[in-house]
Amino acid sequence: MTSSSCHRLWQVEAARDGRLSERDKSSFEAHARECRVCSREQRRLERLAEKLRELEPPANEVTLYHGRQKLMKALDARVRQQPSEWSAWRVWGLSACAALALLLLGLWTQHERTPPRTFVHVSALGAHAHWSRLRAGDTELIQLSDDGVFDIRIQRQSKDPRVQVLLPDGTIDDLGTVFQVSLHNRLTVQLVVSEGAVVFHRRAAEDVYLAAGHVWRPEQPAAPEAAAVKSAQSSLQPTSTLQMPQPPELPTPQKPARVAVPSPRRTAPRVKSPPAILREDVAYLHVLSLLRSGHDFEAQLEAIDYLRRFPHGFRSAEIERIATGR
């Protein structure tokens, strides 16, 4: 060891910084008490620390006071700006509940206001019974083909598209109903109306208006003329089941009824043929009603049918113009 260096000089800093174990530190301190180089290094480090500590005067009271005022003002501003956590959660919760309530109210109102779309359900019974649905303009067409029994349920509002059931031997105008159609040999053999009302337009025959509870079956063959007249006259009474050009809109039944053959008490009287003059009137009125309701094509078809049925009818000239479209 020389007067200017010591091999344990590095331990001065190590002891100061806590790099030595307790044992090494004690050993070094004993050495430093005798080693002038190490003790001088210790004093130099201590002087440096003292100079550094004296470098900054104590903080000015005025500076601290202003700093405190500034801090408190900033904290107050922040506290005033931020609502408490509880109230923030409450505001969020209430807002969410209000939004949900409005959404549900809107959905409910929309549901109430939106009219149900036309609903058509057809169930066919029979090996060859089948049906199809198609749209022609603003009319929904249900076409029944071949033999079978067809239970038909139609739900529609007055603004919904018109629904017409096409049969091999005619058509049925629906007025919002549940009814059953039976076909045999491509002929309608039975029409049972459970709810609402229909108008049955038979080809080469009179239209029949059937309300809930009415049952229609084909006419009996060749009844005596007098009886036929009587029967037809009775069928044209206000409660008749014959066609009405524009039947009044019936109230929709409150409870859906199952399709079943009505009891004999509710069954409408069998529709019998009116005299030829009345049949011609009915056919003429039907053509006119179709024209007035804007169904020109159907009116034309009905006009042709009229001319076929009543070739010498007293309105044949007028109907001929309709049939030929002149």
Partner: protein, 184 residues
Amino acid sequence: MSIAKRNVLQERSLPDAVLLSRVAVGDTVALGILYDRYAPALLKFARRVERQEAEDIVQTVFMRVLHLAVGFDVQAASARPWLYAITARVALERRRSILRWKTALTHFAKQPEPVVTDTSDVRRDLRTSLSRLSAAKRTVLVLAEVEGFSCYEIAEMLEIPVGTVWTRLHHARRELRDSQEEEA
């Protein structure tokens, strides 16, 4: 002695952990007591580490304490190391921010970086010598030699290995000594 004055004195003698738990729920009075207790020392420390921004740094530290108080370890005997750690971090952030601004402005103005004049007057001054150290070395040196924290405490405060603290401390002393010897 009035009851109010006695209450104030009692509050002022509350431990740091109690005060910080009150700060955590938004008690600004407790924060004010902590400010009175530690702001003078923190201001001195900040001046040594980042002279120009010291007051703003202390202000930022106590604003940050309002949010960080929730995470304070209530078992700790004192909040002193915790507060110094926040101060060191804020000072470092502030320095980086200033450097970014300086770089951006220099780039924008297309001016060369100003060269620090190496006059004997500047070097004679210990304060200038200290300011010439890197921020990392200066922070470690001040924390160890002026504030009296152990190297292990500094490592924990600055979230760096203790070996890094020892290295920085050694280099800081050497650079300062060289500067002082040149002065002599």
